[in-house]
Symmetry: C2
Subunit: 194 residues, 2 copies
Amino acid sequence: MTPVTAAERSDAARNRERLLLAARELIEHGGAASLTMDRLAEHAGVGKGTVFRRFGSRAGLMLTLLNDSEAAFQARFLFGPPPLGPGAAPLERLIAFGAERIAYVVEYGDLVLAAGNASRGRFEVPAAALWNRHVDMLLREGGIDSPEPGLLAGSLNATLDPERLLHLIREHGVTPERLTASWRDLVTRIVTDA
Amino acid sequence: MTPVTAAERSDAARNRERLLLAARELIEHGGAASLTMDRLAEHAGVGKGTVFRRFGSRAGLMLTLLNDSEAAFQARFLFGPPPLGPGAAPLERLIAFGAERIAYVVEYGDLVLAAGNASRGRFEVPAAALWNRHVDMLLREGGIDSPEPGLLAGSLNATLDPERLLHLIREHGVTPERLTASWRDLVTRIVTDA
DNA sequence: AATACAACCGGACTACGGTCCGTTTACTCT
DNA sequence: AGAGTAAACGGACCGTAGTCCGGTTGTATT
């Protein structure tokens, strides 16, 4: 039976697996920064053109690598147990959301950074739009009286920018705990206002 | 009379002037994106090495180009007339600060963007530290009761990230006025809380 | 004026991300 | 099985930021 969308050719599938495997190996070995597209191609035993056709760009590759954990994160705040998932009060969910994002950034640091350096900005990423809608929804549920909750949600998310968070942690010795506390402080002020 | 710090050699001074002039010309002609270090060197009639010794990096060059307007901005919020400068209520000054930053980003868009892509992040910039201290001070003056006003100030400044603002304006058609209103909304909620 | 030296100069060189296009290969249809 | 075709392949090629080092030049000293 022929699929509606053309099936992936077998050599393409094989090369994709090879590339992902090689990428994880290289990153495990020398960190995300050491992964260059040339090295990846060579290590995977494919041509460079193949790498770019598969992933579009270096950032696209990183995004693919993060896909699983990102999907898991999304599932947790969309469908998971409270306080992150539905069931808890909006403010509680907001606090948990930030705390989880911070933990996520800490865990996948370099990868997230490399994924952020996309050619066309780090705001086009579908995930970013989802986070915005989520925070937006929580704000509305929290009953805030803002002219533009969408923009406010975007501002709050900007606060969690990975590059900024990692900079504070790595260069200024700020602990993730303090960042989480600061996030709690921020969103609490906003939601408990009106 | 010999200066305390070694004086700049005359050829160095002459080349710096040439480079800044050439850079402004190139930008005027084709926008900041069209300014490559090779073209700049050629257009200024100097070697490429000279460009990098002078400015360190492309971002450093952009920073130098922005230096005057940045200094003017700083002077305005440090010493200028209210509501941006001293004399107005902290909340008023905070609102004005964001509004001016947004206007600044709109005016110097491409340049600010290019300056932000510094090798070691866009947070090391001395100006950023100054903005943080300024917002921090205004928050304290506003009498907020936060465990870490410094981190809160950093979060607020993250909200004004040029890349984000320009993305909203250029790709999503958000007007600077709406951004300003959103900033006012945000800081008002934070300051009028406690 | 000659000398010495530190600073500066220039452009060849490297590493990297990304593109292009002629060639090869897996699937499909008869 | 054999032919036809669209897709995938690979690596030469390009533009760019940034580095390096042998040669040059301005400046202070005597």
